[in-house]
């Protein structure tokens, strides 16, 4: 009798295992972000006992990128991974068209800011997204600026005294997204709409470059995160930074014993602000249809209203779906959080994403080089923008 029971149990487990689908999910979410993601995946496991998600933390974004590049080249990618737009363009053919696998309610839920097609295909969905906002010291800037002119007036008034550690603003050379935001706010773009011409050095591009160069004279220009400078006691009147840096910036201000608040960016021709953060993509090589369907289920689960709102509340990222951002949970949450409300308004008002050009990776590398030259006043804004345009033209 006992033997029969054991055989029955083994058979039952075997049948269960046969129906089990296992997928790998590579991500770069550390600290509280990783904990929250693990928590959500655990909830997914509870709701979907037939699917096992191997959540694999790859360390930093650059480590994730390098591992993905190597894995795709070796033909052994994960089932599901976080990735930036400019990585996606490197291996489009290896990805699955997600609109073939995601349910209608998920497909129709994204904010228009995240409508992005790669060569006409929907191969990624937004996941952990942040936006550039203005961090300011209320004791130095009583009313946050709403226009470029006001921004410049404040920055000039605060001035720059390196010996005392006082700066009107701060810029990070490795972060050209700030320049792209200024460029877009001035009505400019890197390339023309059909990508046939480089437009970054036209009148609007030059206006943005000259504005940034004027501000840079009163700015702390450092590759390190601005929160590091704040923590060391350096006074910065205001600076543009991602909403994902909220916790770090606030903690730094707390350590330094100074006030810090968040406002939407000052606007110019428009109120554009660049969206940052990664998307989710599903890989085809070495995956079965069941694994791809399981990955699509994970995506749909993560983008469900309750989970998206929870993820945003816990991590500081912004909700990426209409259902979540206008939903009761998020609206109730931001009603008592003016900073998060400012970030949400910024996303709705002017969020724009990366240029989905196949050579954007190389263009961004050039942008970093010339953005640094501009900030350090190595040449005139016109000469810098013309040189940048020539280099982009050579690779576009």
């Amino acid at each position: 009798m006992r033997r029969v029971a054991i055989i029955a149990l083994v058979c039952a487990l075997g049948v269960g295992a046969l129906g089990q689908v296992t997928i790998s999910f590579w991500h770069a979410m550390g600290g509280v972000l990783g904990t929250t993601l693990t928590e959500l995946i655990q909830k997914f496991h509870d709701e979907n006992p037939g699917i096992t998600v191997d959540l694999i933390h790859q360390g930093s974004y650059s480590a994730l990128q390098q591992k993905l590049i190597a894995a795709v080249a070796a033909g052994e990618p994960p089932t599901l991974a976080q990735q930036y737009e400019n990585w996606t363009t490197l291996w489009l053919d290896a990805l699955v068209d997600l609109d073939l696998f995601l349910p209608e309610e998920t497909l129709g839920s994204f904010l228009p800011q995240f409508d992005q097609l790669f060569e006409g295909r929907m191969v990624t969905v937004p996941f952990n997204k942040s936006i550039l906002v203005l961090y300011y010291r209320p004791d130095l800037v009583p009313n946050p600026p709403t226009t470029w002119a006001e921004f410049e007036t404040y920055v000039t008034a605060i001035g720059k005294d390196a010996a005392k550690g006082v700066y009107g603003t701060a810029f990070r050379p490795p972060n050209p997204e700030i320049f792209l935001t200024l460029l877009t706010q001035a009505g400019g773009s890197i390339l023309s709409e059909d990508w046939s011409e480089v437009t970054i050095n036209n009148a609007t591009g030059l206006e943005a470059a000259e504005f940034a160069a004027r501000l840079a004279k009163f700015a702390l220009v450092d590759s390190a995160y601005t929160s590091d400078a704040i923590q060391k006691g350096i006074a910065i009147g205001m600076f543009i930074d991602t909403s994902a840096g909220y916790t770090y910036n606030m903690n730094a201000a707390k350590t330094a014993g100074v006030p810090l608040a968040v406002a939407p960016l000052p606007c110019h021709v428009n109120c554009a602000s660049m969206i940052q953060g990664t998307n989710l993509a599903v890989y085809a090589p070495k995956q079965t249809r069941a694994q791809i369907e399981a990955a699509a289920k994970v995506i749909a689960f993560l983008l469900r209203e309750d989970n998206t709102a929870y993820w945003a509340q816990k991590t500081g990222y912004l909700p990426v779906t209409k259902t979540a951002i206008y939903g009761e949970a998020w609206q109730t949450y931001i009603a008592g959080k003016p900073e998060q409300k400012a970030m949400t308004e910024q996303l709705i008002a002017g969020g724009f994403g990366q240029l989905l050009h196949p050579r954007y990776m190389d263009m961004r590398s050039l942008l970093i080089t010339y953005w640094e030259l501009l900030l350090k006043g190595e040449d005139t804004p016109k000469a810098i923008m013309d040189a940048l345009a020539a280099e982009i033209d050579a690779i576009k």
Partner: protein
């Protein structure tokens, strides 16, 4: 040359075979991790390599492009296609669409994992066997031309050359002085030797993390030390931003490199010094030579074989500087002031996915190192004194 006799010849072949068997594990490791990548770098350098779905042989063709396009756009398999593939033993239920564009679709057979790419050209649609993975397209010397046109590569080559030109002779000179000191009859010599060798055997990651702290602008030991020294002389000292000022990133790398390799090189030179026949020194003393003359005329010339070996090894090693840049500066440094050739290769391959371009850059680096090594072997070696 005297050829072995038949009997001796058999013995000769057995000995050779035995030697190769002993060498086999080493050859296997070298082959896999050194020679195979080395040869591949040359091959890849003339290709554009991307991850693509590549079409193979045609398995079906049709002119009913409108029906096919509409059906595939819905993520479904056209009847005609299902029938055609059924004849090849593919079950209809195993087929699914994974990629769809206006004129290109990819479907997969779940049972065999075989992919098919469907391409529309005008009214005609062709179904090909397909594979997704690395696709290599020959581009001739294009990758080399692009590397030479890239201002970043020129910058990387210049930065690396400056680093090599300063760090290699400085390390060697200081190592020679250190070896001379260690060669004296002093107490605690073993401890000094150990201390000077420690940086070489400590993992580079650990060393670099420590140096990142030493170089910190506000709290670093180096600025503290320099400030203190400047204070003794009543001079003003402006804190140096070692890792964020483009003027100081290369000196930062050079100082760390000199510190790391000086001890190792000193021990090699010390071994050479201790092998010098005492008779030379005694003869010099009899002739009335002073300590400096003895060092210049006997010690230094007699260790030139070791110096030559160190020169070649350190020159090759220095041209390949990478980990220090990656960990100490976490990037190419401000204004790419510390962008080195190997870091350039790394970013082209693993940040931008341009494997062909990266391979071309690595082949150029190989050519530079090879040419310099040849120069040393032919020209510099003539100045090396080998004891007969």
């Amino acid at each position: 040359m005297k050829l072995p006799t038949l009997r001796q010849g058999r013995r000769f072949w057995w000995d050779t075979l035995e030697a190769y068997v002993y060498l086999l594990p080493t050859l296997a490791v070298l082959g896999l991790f050194t020679f195979y990548p080395f040869v591949n770098a040359f091959i890849y350098s003339v290709y554009d390599i991307r991850t693509r779905t590549v079409a193979g042989s045609v398995v079906h063709a049709t002119t009913d492009s409108t029906t096919w396009a509409t059906t595939l756009a819905r993520g479904r398999i056209p009847e005609e296609l299902a029938d055609a593939l059924l004849k090849r033993g593919v079950a209809r239920d195993d087929l699914w669409v994974r990629l769809r564009q206006a004129d290109r679709w990819v479907i997969k057979d779940e049972a065999s994992a075989q992919e098919y790419i469907i391409v529309r050209e005008g009214e005609e649609i062709r179904v090909h066997l397909a594979t997704t993975g690395w696709a290599m397209e020959s581009v001739g010397w294009d990758n080399f031309a692009r590397v030479f046109r890239d201002p970043d590569f020129a910058k990387a080559l210049l930065n690396t050359t400056i680093y090599v030109a300063v760090s290699v002779p400085t390390t060697l000179l200081l190592a020679l002085l250190l070896a001379t000191l260690l060669n004296q009859a002093v107490r605690g010599k073993a401890l000094f030797r150990l201390a000077s060798f420690l940086p070489y055997i400590t993992p580079i990651v650990a060393i670099t993390m420590v140096w990142a702290w030493i170089y910190d602008r506000n709290y670093g030991l180096l600025n503290y030390f320099l400030g203190t020294v400047a204070g003794w002389f009543g001079a003003e000292f402006n804190l140096i931003n070692w890792l964020n000022d483009p003027r100081w990133t290369k000196p930062a790398l050079i100082i760390m490199s000199v510190w790391r390799f000086m001890g190792y090189q000193a021990l090699i030179l010390l071994a050479g010094m201790q092998g010098i026949d005492r008779e030379y020194y005694e003869a010099a003393r009899v002739d009335g030579a002073g300590p400096l003359a003895v060092w210049r005329k006997i010690t230094v010339p007699m260790v030139t074989p070791q110096m030559f070996f160190l020169l070649i090894i350190s020159l090759i090693g220095s041209f390949k500087i990478f980990e220090e840049v990656l960990i100490l500066l976490q990037g190419p440094g401000p204004q790419k002031s510390a962008l080195t050739v190997v870091y350039y290769v790394f970013t082209k391959a693993f940040d931008s996915g341009h494997y062909g371009l990266a391979s071309a850059a690595s082949v150029i680096l190989f050519a530079v190192i090879f040419a310099l090594s040849l120069f040393q072997l032919t020209v510099v070696q003539k100045r090396v004194h080998y004891e007969r």
